[in-house]
Amino acid sequence: MESLLLSINNLTTQYITDNNIIHAVNGISLELARGGSIGLVGESGAGKTTTAYSIMGLLPKLTGKIIKGSILFEGKDLTLLSEEEMRDIRGSKISMIFQDPMTSLNPIITVGDQIAEVLEIHGTSNKNEAQKKAGDMLEMVGIPRGRMNEYPHQFSGGMKQRVIIAIALACNPELLIADEPTTALDVTIQAQVLKMIKELKNELDTSLILISHNLGVVAQVCENVAIMYAGRIVEFGALRDVFSKPLHPYTEGLLNSIPRIEVEKERLIPIRGMMPDPSIVPSGCIFKPRCPYAKEECSVQAPIVSKISDRRVMCLMHEGVIPNTMGAANE
């Protein structure tokens, strides 16, 4: 059996604002093997970034709070660590690429120095050594080392994103969390960056959580996929299985609603309705109001996680509470 690197158990994270509690993450569980990769997919507001911030210990101090659950990383519960201990782990064992790429580089420090700085914090004591390694890192992400002394504004969006990836990998982390790393990029540049992430993952054996709302992007890189809706992981499994034969009505809805290059569609089939209000906790299934297969029971009984061979799904159809009409339509 593969060894586990990360195990999230029943994680519940909320934002507590003046007059509201935002239920951003509602009891999710997720396991990542050493060297493995998970795509975390969902529409905006699903709780993807909040999950990442919970792992990183970077929730906003005043409002963000882990209410319940544990995050075991190499056996240690990250939710119990002090701020200092978390700082050590960030950037030595876990690195993150943030959603807004253009704000994470310092505009007044050269790209070479920004990489060297990370190396120095993490054990490369010698300045010259750090500079040399920084050059190596730049080359690894396809930027000539001759451009080390340039500033971020001299780089294009794609190059900046590659520098950010180089910085994230400079400490040789066990786990890389990439939050929408290519969303701001053009397709041709996106392809360059995805190819690079894939190669680096294989070369350095880094484990990966790739967050994206783009199903195609995670399909390029990840073995497993977790589909997130309203703070819950509604479906988890091997990516090929989930995308070719979804078990949850939301996953099916996502696949039906997007235009696809390789599937001719006369008309898209949207998911009806809207995202639920994250400050309201419904009784029953959170997807019920939008679900074409829902029955009365769905407004009363909340689904639990059902295991179906290697896959997991949260839906009463798979608990035998209501008939599985989705499967019937698919056969």
Partner: protein, 325 residues
């Protein structure tokens, strides 16, 4: 560009240019673009950020003044029209923006945003008729009646985009430039808006120029597709044919780079290196040459001619006919 030579297109753009003066020199945002759209059809426009898609759309509507070239709409060259005649023409030509939020006045209610063009263009007499019109438009874009007194910030992205569409439809246009209308929407909402736009097209016979960088969306919505690169159209083709095979190496790279759900990108495929170049005072020769794996000497010195290569397909590449991509 269309094989039905007996049909007169509703919109014909010829040698359109838009240059901007910048401190670093003349920026060729749109550089000699020509195409035509038949009534009731959709032309998709794709290409990397900064290649001139938005500028083309705005120059066609004369929201910015073209540097040169002509735009013939319903048989009338609108580039030479004086302002008051242009105003009348413009009722027939509208635009929908990417970010429905920043394009809507936050201090106006939904109903007054939709009513505004009707009032400005004196399309209604009396309050009663105005209300009726607004109601009809809201129904058309499937906006709930109860939202008429809401403000844009109270609504989600999908509903905001519906307001933008209702407003664009108010003057009963024939042609709409849609500039990334679904790019900022979640996929489940994106599907609702795309379906709505297709339904409206069928019902009202609308003609669209649909700008996007999402290749799957453009394939789905378009009859024809124009691929732009640094201010120029480098390939123009019926949508389906373009995805079947490409004549221009850039179109080929663009389409191969799409992350597909069904399969991983071919590992052996050469991924396009480098970045889009500078549009400032471009040198003669092909603008894609330095990134092109098929580049020959001629490409560095002579600007490729944009010419029809098979019925309905045109391309600007010296080697288009010999390469098979």
């Amino acid at each position: 560009m269309n094989n039905h030579s007996d049909m007169i297109p509703i919109l014909q753009v010829k040698n359109l240019k838009k240059y901007f003066t910048t401190p670093r020199g003349m920026l060729h945002a749109v550089d000699d673009v020509s195409f035509a759209i038949q009534e009731g059809k959709t032309l998709g426009v794709v290409g990397e950020s900064g290649c001139g898609k938005t500028t083309t759309g705005r120059a066609i509507l004369r929201l910015i003044e073209p540097t040169s070239g002509s735009v013939v709409f319903n048989g009338i060259d609108i580039t030479s029209l004086e302002k008051n005649k242009l105003r009348i023409m413009r009722e027939k030509m509208q635009i929908i923006f990417q970010d429905p939020y920043s394009s809507l006045d936050p201090r106006m209610s939904v109903a007054s945003i939709i009513a505004e063009p009707l009032i400005i263009h004196k399309r209604v007499s009396g309050k009663k008729e105005l209300l009726k019109q607004v109601q009809k438009l809201m129904e058309m874009v499937e906006l709930e009646d109860r939202l008429s007194s809401s403000y844009p910030h109270e609504l989600d992205g999908g509903r905001r985009q519906r307001i933008g569409i209702a407003r664009a439809l108010a003057l009963e246009p024939q042609f709409i430039v849609c500039d990334e209308p679904v790019s900022s929407l979640d996929v489940s909402v994106q599907a609702q808006i795309l379906n709505l736009m297709q339904d409206l097209q069928d019902r009202l016979g609308l003609t669209y120029m649909f700008v996007t960088h999402d290749m799957a969306v453009v394939k789905h919505i378009s009859d024809e597709i124009a691929v732009m690169y640094l201010g120029q159209i480098i390939e123009l083709s019926p949508a389906k044919d373009l995805f079947a095979h490409q004549y221009h190496p850039y179109s080929h790279a663009l389409i191969s780079a799409i992350p597909k759900i069904e399969s991983k990108t071919d590992e052996t495929m050469t991924i396009l290196k480098g970045e889009i170049g500078s549009p400032i005072e471009p040198k003669p020769g092909c603008r894609f040459a330095l990134r092109c794996e098929y580049c020959i000497e001629k490409c560095l010195t002579d600007t490729p001619v944009f010419k029809t290569i098979e019925s309905g397909r045109a391309v600007a590449c010296w080697r288009a006919e010999e390469l098979s991509l």
